[in-house]
Symmetry: C2
Subunit: 120 residues, 2 copies
């Protein structure tokens, strides 16, 4: 639809109407080629706030750029996930969750072996 | 033992003989109050290299300072763990490991329920 959306620009197009969550938090202009804007919607500002606090903006950008284009959304989501776990558990982060799950797998495996031994 | 170790200093004492892994990588002087030196031994340089790559030095320092002193070694180790997982799996990181373990827990739980139902 013509006439809808931002007006045409000379040079760099800016996401002036809705800057992404990253540019909003960092108080900077959101350029069309902003590395964050496809992955950090202004409607979910807490996602970028979390990765910013734990990894830092430049590391998030670097980590995203290191994966293929079609996997960046997944990478961004996993960084948000990890950052939130770290904010909830600043000492153990995801390692705490992984240890607890490994323990649970061991317990379940032992129970399963015991029940199977009972049958035979 | 007197006479062993670094000579006495005026002002800041430096870990001049064995700067920690962080200061060695960052090519800076390792001060006695270095935030990294208790947790990043020069004998395991790959540990700091991993957290530096994923979180950045200043974030690691900040994350360590945010936890109580007696938990900083655990926090440093969990950051190293997370960084290594992220370097092996840049797209999913620890979230990938957690998803796989959650899946395994579900499968084992279902098997256990099935075997138990068989007994009764």
């Amino acid at each position: 639809m013509m006439g809808v959306g931002p007006p045409p620009h000379l040079g760099t197009t800016l996401n002036t109407i809705t800057p992404c969550a990253a540019c909003k938090l960092l108080r900077r202009r959101c350029a069309e080629e902003c590395p964050f804007s496809p992955y950090f919607s202004p409607h979910e500002p807490q996602k970028f706030a979390a990765v910013h606090k734990v990894f830092g903006a430049s590391n998030v950008s670097k980590l995203l750029m290191e994966v293929p284009d079609n996997q960046r959304a997944d990478a961004a989501n996993s960084l948000v996930y990890e950052a939130n776990v770290r904010l909830r558990d600043p000492v153990y982060g995801c390692m705490g969750a992984i240890s607890a799950l490994q323990q649970q797998v061991q317990t379940l495996q032992a129970e399963l072996n015991a029940v199977r031994a009972e049958i035979l």
